[in-house]
Subunit: 473 residues, 2 copies
């Protein structure tokens, strides 16, 4: 058991000094009065969220405590130990991004390249696209007898995932036979509804539920994320323990004590002050895919048509993924000299788990010699601080979320914090953070073009879209 002291030293923190007027000036920094205004709103919003949760309207909030679900995931993972060389997730959007984010963060940096004996589980492939070149190459490469597929779709009508499923299932049957193929397929779908549930029953697949009322982008702490993670050696109990710890902080009704609420407040205040872009810039290779997960959470939750009476307004910040230090040599020129239209969230890591000393050599060469005797870790830290400083010098507001280390416990905190931040931001913006009506039109158009029954009218409309050769070079 972790002692109280060791838990507290593993807490992630939010440092918002650098977004205040004191740091970046009044024109681009937050004044205390702005935060005060949100602070006054906070107890009411906190109460609203707590009531929603109590009434079962925010089931994602309770995912860290589903002991039965965790037990069944772990039992399944244990039962499969040693049987598979590969786990392939067939899923897209929320069915893929959480698994990718946590696995990149917590597994070996070159996990799939490791020899079997050095890996904590089978190789992991999350296939979240329908690119025939890539998908075909994967299928060629895998031994289907030693490959477990996990098909994830709540509705069972996700065209991309069902396409992948049909292709893989056929190849499984060709390789293993109709009966035995079912042992290499797991389905995660709605508990009762949807097209995949009866298919799974008919074929005899093992299944796990996508919990009721939990949208894809809030599903990482359900079987959707936990099963592939557990199968590939991620410590899901520690992940959930981190989420639960953050849940404690997120119940706090005082803005200045609640990192999720404060982070949301900062984001939305800047959005309203004509900084429509929100850059997340992890200073850690391991955290790079967290930024992609956050991109979905933030964009799909907050990018909405807001209705106020008869008036409609298109609102929502645009999340942008960046990577430190890499993007200092790509984006920082724009971030410092371009328009001051962004709020930056840097992710810092205190302990990378190992130190890499820089050998002393070429001491007389000015541009090289000074590095010797330091460590690569010091350089990473210096660059993150240097970027924060350079942003402040050009009046660009930024905050830093610090992780004591990158592991299941800290990543669990971070993702849970981002989820609650999203709920709070939705309340501040007065929009529904949990739907995605804007995706429908594209889905219908896809169905129409693929000849799904009942979509013939839509097809006509798409074909009627004018396209003149004159405007093609």
């Amino acid at each position: 058991m972790a002692t109280r002291k060791s838990v507290s030293s593993q807490r992630i923190t939010l440092d918002y000094n650098n977004c205040l007027a004191e740091a970046v000036g009044k024109e681009h920094g937050l004044r205390p009065t702005e935060l005060d205004r949100i602070e006054r709103l906070t107890p009411k919003i906190a109460e609203k969220l707590a009531t929603q949760r109590k009434n079962g309207k925010l089931p994602y909030r309770d995912l860290p405590y589903q002991d039965d679900m965790v037990a069944s995931v772990l039992a399944s993972a244990r039962a499969k130990q040693g049987q598979f060389d590969n786990v392939v997730v067939l899923g897209i959007g929320g069915s893929a991004l959480g698994t990718i984010a946590v696995h990149t963060a917590c597994a070996h940096p070159f996990y799939n390249l490791l020899a079997d004996k050095d890996r904590k589980g089978p190789r992991l492939f999350v296939m979240d696209n329908v690119d025939a070149a890539q998908f075909g190459a994967l299928a060629d490469m895998l031994d289907f007898r030693r490959t477990l597929f996990i098909t994830i779709s709540k509705s069972g009508s996700t065209a991309e995932t069902m396409t992948q499923f049909l292709i893989c299932r056929q190849k499984q049957i060709d390789t293993l036979g109709q009966k035995k193929h079912a042992e290499n397929m797991i389905v995660i779908t709605d508990r009762e509804k949807g097209y995949l549930r009866p298919i799974a029953q008919q074929e005899g697949y093992e299944t796990f539920p996508v919990p009721d009322g939990v949208g894809g982008r809030f599903s990482v702490f359900s079987a959707v994320g936990l099963l592939p993670l557990a199968l590939t050696g991620v410590d899901i109990k520690n992940l959930l323990a981190g989420a639960a710890l953050m849940d404690g902080s997120c119940k706090e009704p005082r803005l200045r004590r609640n990192p999720a609420f404060m982070s949301a407040a900062i984001q939305i205040l800047f959005y309203n002050r004509k900084k429509p872009m929100s850059v997340m810039m992890p200073y850690s290779q391991a955290l790079r895919d967290v930024a992609d997960w956050y991109r979905q959470l933030w964009a799909e939750s907050l990018g909405k048509v807001r209705k106020a009476g008869s008036r409609e307004e298109n609102v929502g910040p645009t999340p942008i993924k960046a990577l430190g230090v890499t993007d200092q040599h790509s984006q920082v020129q724009l971030y410092r000299e371009g328009p001051n239209d962004k709020i930056f969230t840097l992710l810092g890591v205190e302990n990378f788990g190992r130190e890499l000393p820089i050998p002393e050599a070429f001491e007389d060469v000015a541009g090289v010699g000074y590095l010797g005797g330091h460590t690569m870790n010091e350089l990473m830290e210096a660059e993150r601080r240097a970027t924060a400083y350079a942003l402040v010098k050009s009046q660009r507001p930024n905050v830093t979320i610090s992780l004591p280390a990158v592991n299941e416990f800290t990543v669990g905190q971070l993702l849970y914090m981002m989820e609650v931040q999203t709920s709070f931001a939705g309340e501040l913006m007065k929009i529904n953070a949990y739907d995605q009506p804007g995706v429908e039109e594209g889905k219908v158009a896809t169905y129409a073009l693929m000849g799904r029954k009942g979509f013939a009218e839509a097809k006509k409309e798409i074909k009627a879209l004018k396209s003149s050769k004159k405007f093609i070079i």
Copy 2:
């Protein structure tokens, strides 16, 4: 030799129907008069660029024709054939992004995972960060006797790259001895100047030049990109042939005939019409890293302080990377319902090199059965068209660049087009597209924090940056 007909069928095209007022309405679409205005400016800008080129001021434009350089790169690659299992590029920003973009596009989708006999060359690792966890894991994994390092830095003072260099060189010496280690190291740096040139001479490293006057982000067609690509089985001659073909189109002084100029015009017109974000969304896994390369090119070239007399203005569009179809389940909700503040560039691929048929099954299941009999390729195509259509329906301007296939020849065209597009955009914006003064402050701060001589003052200033515990949660 390719016939004229086969070349023309391998040309990439720009379709800008969907950004015109006829498609997305007058409020958000371009009117012919706007394009006419740019068209009138075009011959003058074309002439200016041609003169700059003739006077040696745009040397990147001539990179597709450096036959001697290509011959020396190919000779070096041939000489190393069979000697190495791994090529590791130590470089960041422009020293990394071009190689990554082209390799991802032209090599096998799971190149590094292939068995030696199935790969066209050694595995490729482009290390463009200073993360001790990642870098240490790589160093542990590699057999240094069978690993070739390519250190790339024009100035030889890039802190990240020189740190990597010092660490790897020491481990090479420990493994191979001082004399023999030099056989496993190549340096690409300035022809004469900088800190790396004398080091390379002293140590006896093979070297290639970063051509004079070519900035990192325009260097993909020099040895910077060509050497690692040639070593790992990419057909660099075809890459350059594609670039040369596009060069022909880019000399055209009529806006409506020149894809690079037209694309730039569209981007800058929308930027000036309050769409500060430029989304590049490839519908192809192979092209995903092209969007990262473009991010640097566009951000670092155009994100500038523009001086007009005593007035200073912060300008520049923000490039954003997205991925089709994946991001339909992540970003499209925002793209359609959020603020209409973006111009979209979709990248389409006509031929993925293989077809993946979708088996017929579950014909009676409405959400699944209609897919059978189609191909994954048709789905990808349908989704790209569906997204373009859905964007038009919500008045979001978009253009599509189509590649007949993804290979060296088409990718060469695409990258060269983007480079010329950048030059033209710089002229339209009246800024210097080739410098990056905004990066300096962060570099100085890093030097200061790492204790480089002559930067003590800067260190004091950084330490003086106020940070109150009150604003850390």
